[in-house]
């Protein structure tokens, strides 16, 4: 029997200690611990690596602290567009979705694409139609509203700036 292991991340960037209070740090730490232990619990019970990563990511998607699922940031139009992907190291099968709206857990949709479609990457309305056909859960706009994310968006809404999870904006172009 192999040794089980799991690692998770909740984003990277310019996270200065000055901008993260002790209380906030405690909350983030608790959320990360809960997610990684949820995934590890799946492994300890004999579950697959696929099931474990889905469970850990689902926990993070349901937590408003992180930029995914419920905590997704606002687009220029004030909406939420989400992407997700999953890959199986045993079979090299992969599934992904891009630019989907109102999907409660995009990682579940990515897994459904991998296991129930003949494609690897679905996007936009088509991906949402596939989610309906698969019986996946949708959530209203209000579910994705978060006061902090809204205030972050207000700061740049009337500019061309785009901001990464925890990083100050940079004015760069990519051709």
């Amino acid at each position: 029997m192999h040794k089980t292991a799991i690692a998770i991340h909740g984003g990277a960037g310019t996270i200065t200690k000055a901008s993260l209070t002790e209380e906030k740090e405690r909350i983030y730490t608790a959320a990360l611990k809960e997610a990684v232990e949820a995934g590890h619990s799946v492994l300890e019970k004999g579950g697959s690596a696929l099931e474990a990563v889905e469970e850990a990511v689902r926990h993070l998607e349901d937590c408003p602290l992180f930029n995914a699922g419920k905590g997704s940031v606002f687009t220029k139009e004030g909406k939420h567009e989400m992407d997700a992907a999953m890959m199986d190291g045993k079979t090299l099968e992969a599934g992904a979705v891009a630019g989907v709206k109102s999907i409660k857990n995009p990682i579940k949709l990515a897994r459904a694409v991998m296991q129930h479609s003949e494609h690897v990457l679905l996007s936009g309305y088509g991906a949402e139609e596939f989610a309906r056909n698969q019986g996946l859960e949708f959530a209203p706009e209000a579910y994705f509203f978060d006061k902090l994310r809204y205030e972050q968006w207000l700061e740049v809404r009337d500019s061309e700036a785009i901001i990464l999870d925890h990083t100050e904006k940079k004015d760069e172009k990519f051709g």
Partner: protein, 134 residues
């Protein structure tokens, strides 16, 4: 962006990544997260990888697959491959961020070149590790 990589009792690895993108993005911009090989990749022969950071750089550097390739074709360890890609190649590109990775043997790497990365790991019955800063 959030992500997870894992190895199970059968020695199979998997990777998953999910993101809400970037604040104030437009034109249906897509980053590296849903791009297999850039933000997410898994292969039992090498490792499973999930990335987080400025997606445009990660796509151009094909980060996740690059880590796997260094292990498969050059014989690098996971740590060596991650060091090469995140701390050298990405830095040259100007790309900020990091990744998490795990091998079928249960070796974990969580390198990042930004000031911080929210991360956690748990191996077998060892204590849970949680970190934010370097």
């Amino acid at each position: 962006t959030v992500g997870a990589v894992a190895v199970d009792q059968a020695g199979n690895v998997a990777a998953a990544t999910s993101t809400g993108g970037m604040t104030n993005k437009r034109y249906s911009r897509i980053g590296d997260s849903p791009i297999i090989g850039s933000g997410t990749y898994a292969n039992n022969r090498t490792c499973a990888v999930s990335c987080t950071g400025h997606g445009e750089y990660f796509m151009r550097a094909v980060v996740a697959y690059d880590v796997s390739c260094l292990m498969e074709y050059k014989g690098c360890t996971l740590q060596q491959a991650c060091e090469e890609v995140v701390m050298k190649k990405l830095v040259k590109f100007g790309g900020e961020g990091g990744l998490i990775a795990v091998t079928a043997a249960g070796e974990i790497a969580m390198p990042f070149n930004s000031e911080g990365m929210y991360r956690a790991s748990k191996v077998a019955d060892q204590d849970t590790y949680v970190g934010i800063y370097k």
